[in-house]
Symmetry: C2
Subunit: 356 residues, 2 copies
């Protein structure tokens, strides 16, 4: 044991780190993924200055954002359209925050805290600096996981852009996106209703996240009736995190010019698409002149500065209260991902890979 | 006989006209509507100057635009969301062109040619001048029916806004909207493929409307395969006129940031929505960041001047060749409407109510 520790220390001094990483063994078209599909392996990686090519950086991973869309990236070809599929035997990638350990790009220096939508799910990596999407001001006074809520901000502030008084509905309301989106819509002066998967979560979104009201969709047999009850004046914005039957029901309650930012569709990931329940009333989009729009982080990173400034202000001044479930160690990745599909989480699921 | 004619002439001199109009007797949730649902009646209408209230006009109808969406306005409450339903025992309304016979609004004078998305389906009417959406320059040199193609123009120029070289797909390509939309996309420098319901129409869209290519969807068992064949580089714009299975198939071929203007969904009108085939792959909208958007004429009439100027230029300079099927007399309304659902038409279906 002593020998091994000693040799590792020596290696790190020489610029070699040990790094565990998750790679894809086989696609999983159905159900939740297991270690038959994703496996952890250990590699040794040189991060010595001479090992970093031009315009590359060595990164020590700090935090990963665990989001449902990841599931869609290894369903195999049938779902190839949804997201580019991860390649077999390759390390999968993720949205996260890391610290620059070495830099061969004058824009970055050791110690910089950076964000990327395409970090490898690894403890360390050497990657092109062009893959870095933003730099974070580590002295801003808000905690690093809060910078992983960009998608929720984009959904409300950029894609939906609701007016004060708008009727906003958010599904998966206590989840990583919903929790922040609901609060941002409230800050904008909207009336915000959420759906979630337990009575406890309904209580939570009202008491902790400031939703005007909410319901437990698992206890509602008639979604149409419950939407009629909560939206007597119709729905102006629906931030969709679930898809399927909920989306279909919402389309029977949309107001003129409603906007539907599509963040993800958690009800849809674990089946091949031909087995999914179809949405039968898209015609309502025509009559109500509704805009339904998918959006991804990577496209909108030019807005990261606006997001950071706004979110820092809201958090410091107590208007926004994020809730984060932190799992520790890269080993927790598979369980963290699968926990999203069991309704067991509240707030955003984050993995702390290395200490910030 | 002689007596009756004489009295009518006298009445018209006095300012009374006879006007036939279509009114709704009962809703038709299924199938094509019949005279059980829509009936023609004859009324006498005073258009004498003293009969026109302030800010009202008397209109002699010239042309009606016969469009599939009309069908959605009398399916009854189950479809109430798609469009406001026509009221029972009321005259139904339509997009058309009329001539001002009397005006009690200084903005309009006798002889003005005007356009409204909400004319009654009648030979004459007295209506608030606020219901007029635009005035047409009768001396423009293009024919009046060509001003009824506003929806096609909106779909391509305003909602889709494709770049030169974009891959554009248009369903119901030889119909009233498709015929113009395809030509406008070609004028913009796009590659345009159309689907339509007969080999003859496929020939027509290529030879007369300048589509790059097209297919007869009735002869294709595998829409996915045919879209793969015609769009090896994916679809950037899909102007949807049909909905249902075609829309679903398109969603398996969309490119990043594709736009899907929803004009209408002709495959969807004659069933109640719960009986329709659902679209199962909306998740593709997320991964490809697609925008799908319904739009209606009424909302965009502020752009009518741009439309008119552009369409007049295209037609006069021979770039755009509209094809119009003109049916004569208000009596033809029900048959004209139903003809849209039998794939029997080529080009835009228009009713000439009175002579221009």
């Amino acid at each position: 044991m002593g020998e091994e520790v000693k040799s590792l220390v020596v290696e790190e001094e020489m610029g070699v780190v040990e790094s565990k990483e998750w790679y894809l063994v086989s696609y999983a078209p159905h159900g939740v993924p297991t270690t038959d599909h994703l496996k952890l392996r250990k590699v040794r990686l040189s991060i010595a200055p001479e090992s970093i090519p031009d315009a590359h950086v060595a990164i020590e991973m700090l935090l990963f954002s665990v989001d449902p869309y990841l599931r869609g990236r290894f369903t195999g070809t049938l779902d190839g359209l949804y997201f580019p599929q991860f390649e077999l035997n390759q390390v999968i990638t993720i949205f996260g925050i890391g610290r620059v350990k070495r830099s061969n790009d004058s824009k970055y220096e050791e110690g910089d805290i950076v964000l990327s939508a395409s970090f490898p799910v690894a403890e360390y990596c050497v990657m092109p600096s062009s893959e870095i999407d933003a730099k974070i001001d580590a002295a801003s006074g808000i905690s690093l996981p809060d910078y992983l809520s960009t998608l929720a901000w984009l959904g409300i502030e950029v894609v939906a852009d609701p007016k004060p008084g708008s009727n906003v509905f958010i599904s998966a309301a206590s989840g990583g996106v919903g929790m922040i989106a609901g609060q941002l819509a409230k800050i904008r002066g909207c009336r915000v209703i959420g759906s979630t998967g337990s009575d406890e979560k309904v209580r939570l979104i009202k008491e902790e996240f400031g939703y005007d009201d909410g319901f437990n969709y698992k206890k509602e047999e008639d979604l149409d009736a419950v939407l009629s009850k909560f939206f007597p004046n119709g729905i102006d914005v629906y931030l969709d995190n679930v898809g399927g039957k909920m989306l279909e029901s919402v389309l029977n309650h949309v107001n003129k010019f409603a906007r539907i930012p599509l963040c993800g569709m958690i009800s849809q990931y674990n089946q091949v698409w031909t087995e999914r329940e179809g949405v039968r009333n898209l015609l309502n989009l025509v009559g109500k002149e509704v805009r339904m729009e998918g959006f991804l982080l990577k496209t909108h990173f030019n807005r990261f500065g606006d997001f950071a400034k706004e979110i820092e202000g809201h958090i410091k001044e107590g208007r926004l209260k994020p809730k984060t479930k932190i799992n520790f160690g890269i080993e927790s990745f598979l369980d963290s991902l699968n926990s999203l599909f069991s309704s067991s989480n509240i707030g955003k699921v984050v993995i702390q890979v290395n200490k910030a």
